[in-house]
Symmetry: C2
């Protein structure tokens, strides 16, 4: 969790050696809050991997960064809030290209190694007259303790900035994330940059990142809405000079990803409850994920949880819409440990369920096998409606 | 629309000859409002068809009525609000059976020709000590002008009762519906009874009903939540003695179904906007339906419409999650006739869009073929959250 003061080196993307970062106010946001982040890998290695939204409507920076990451090397990442640069046509793509060129020019890099990420309103061009000078400001502010400012600058409706860190034997993995709405898997509905000073080649980074996201960001489903801009990058500087144990490295990346994913759910728009959905005794992991996701997307259930109502009938009606292996009269459901539904019918007294805490755990036992999966979501509130109806975002 | 006074014969399920109906207060609902409806087919024909929820968790009355309808003949339908009798186990099924037996006993019928439908909270047994005496009260109240009382008695969170009628050449189709939440296709998340005095055999009724529901109730998606209790029945008394033209009869049933479906959306929980989503120039009708449904289920868009914000980026991000044939840079989107998105990018000025009316039309042109489909949904509001969080339903 990001409880460190701004002056503390070692937060987020600058926790690992070989990285500098900055977060500045370029004036892209009308609010005048920080809106441009720059992360620079100073090597000696520039290996990188990325996963991107599976939405077929992809923002210009996603199309650009997918090409950059294919090369296997990323020297810098420029991220802006205040505009998604999605559905902006060829001119929007030119804007992304120009942004990468500007970063390359200022830092003496190749534009083909500069990834770009954007977040904000879809369908609006970015104010390049503010963004390009902002790149110079950000480059001048680059620092080994800039990780926190960078995390602040990528916020949109996030109420807090989000960083995480994990340490290996002589090497470190750190990261930052933003995301509060339009959060659903497919993959990773958020902007995330994870850095490490471990010495790891791009193909292994790719495998590790895909493995971590599949079990973390992909299992966060706040509102079922898939973004056009989701980007998760993993950059390795090799500055520690250490080639880590493969399993330990994968575990560290997954730990950072899980930490950030949990923070994303904890800050979801308008949410008053964080809901962990554990599906157990499924015939397959895919079945468990399908059932958990169906529960996570049930608006009626999300309203009930908001009202602290252990309405298990809505859980069963959500399970019933899936193709997973189960018998309706063998379903068990617990809410915060009380098995309110047994054998598809009435179980323990629902009055026994306490739902006062922010975290609510729903356990669905399919009694159909030995596999399990967990998906995180949050409740549906009037505040969510307000945040997403009162102004464009 | 049901603007007729209670004393007017010919409303809803009693619009067609050969039917009597009643709606009474049995005391199932704590509110003391009407909660038990009875519809009786007096023949000479008893042909019937039904479609039921595709939720695999099915309420006891659904399991019962599926068997009744398989026989092709229905003499009476007993419908209660105030309890879904879903997830109530073998005892719940016995309650449904006992209800059908009671109707059969009072009316001198076979229980195997009595369909049962229930709606209300899942996971609670019905108060049979009130329901069974209520059957006697309802039987005593049966009347040729009882269609309106029957429509009133099946309401749950509905604010108005819903009936519709269509006339053929010497024959009539009439119907009633209830449903305000847990409205999503799969099939028909609602209770609906449609009656006709036309002389039509059960297999044709089945084909006509499936054809009508596929294009009407199945294309209503209020909140993406599929019920455990959805039931749509079509009963033919043959009392007109007329064998209708097949196409005219199908059109009349579809007209009544479409009318009732539109009324359901117009009364959806908490809604302030009715949203018609027209997907045009799709490669297939299935593509058009998939895209329309994805748009209909996008919470962020539903919030934006509530705020009268023509946020077409959320339409594109919803389209992008589908597998339908389209090119992202050839998508056009209009909101209330203004083409705010052209070629996947910014189109006409969004300031030109007026969203003051209750009905909002979103047109998505996939430019990928010649097929089309329409799905109805509504906006997402703080009132929806309140209705579904403040108490169990």
């Amino acid at each position: 969790m990001s409880q460190n003061p701004v002056t503390n080196p070692g937060v987020g993307v600058t926790a690992a050696r070989g990285f500098r970062a900055a977060g500045v106010t370029a004036g892209i946001k009308a609010s005048g809050t920080p809106d441009l982040a720059l992360v620079v890998n100073e090597g000696p290695s520039f290996a990188a991997a990325g996963v991107f939204t599976s939405n077929r409507v992809k923002a210009a920076p996603v199309l650009w960064s997918q090409q950059v990451v294919k090369g296997g090397a990323v020297s810098a990442v420029i991220l802006n809030s205040g505009g998604a640069n999605a559905c902006t046509g060829p001119l929007g793509f030119q804007d992304t290209h120009a942004t990468a060129e500007k970063v390359a020019e200022v830092l003496g890099l190749s534009a083909g190694e500069v990834a770009v990420a954007s977040t904000g309103l879809i369908g609006v061009r970015l104010p390049m007259d503010k963004l390009l000078p902002g790149v110079e400001t950000a480059a001048a502010a680059l620092s080994e303790d800039g990780g926190e400012q960078a995390a602040v600058a990528i916020k949109t409706t996030d109420t807090v900035h989000k960083t995480a860190v994990a340490h290996g034997d002589g090497w470190t993995v750190g990261g930052m994330a933003k995301g509060a709405g339009m959060l659903a898997p497919g993959l990773a509905t958020m902007l995330v940059v994870i850095t490490t000073d471990a010495l790891v080649e791009a193909p292994e980074l790719d495998a590790v990142l895909r493995g971590a996201t599949a079990k973390t960001f992909d299992r966060v489903d706040s509102d079922g809405c898939m973004s056009t801009n989701d980007t998760v990058l993993l950059l390795a500087s090799g500055a520690s000079g250490i080639v880590p144990d493969a399993d330990e490295f994968a575990a560290a990346v997954r730990e950072v990803a899980a930490d950030l994913a949990r923070q994303l759910i904890g800050d979801a728009e308008g949410a008053s409850k964080d809901i962990r959905i554990d599906v157990v005794n499924a015939a397959s992991e895919a079945d468990a994920v399908e059932v958990a996701r169906s529960i996570a997307r049930n608006n009626l259930l999300k309203c009930a949880i908001h009202g602290e109502d252990p309405n298990w009938g809505r859980v069963l009606s959500a399970i019933g819409t899936t193709a997973a292996a189960f018998e309706p009269d063998r379903l068990d459901v617990a809410i915060n440990g009380v098995w309110v539904c047994r054998d598809g019918g009435v179980g323990e007294d629902r009055e026994l369920v306490s739902m006062k805490d922010r975290e609510v755990v729903i356990t669905a036992d399919l009694n159909a096998g030995k596999e399990a999966a967990t998906v995180w979501t949050n409740d549906l509130t009037a505040e969510y409606v307000h945040e997403n109806s009162a102004y464009s975002s």
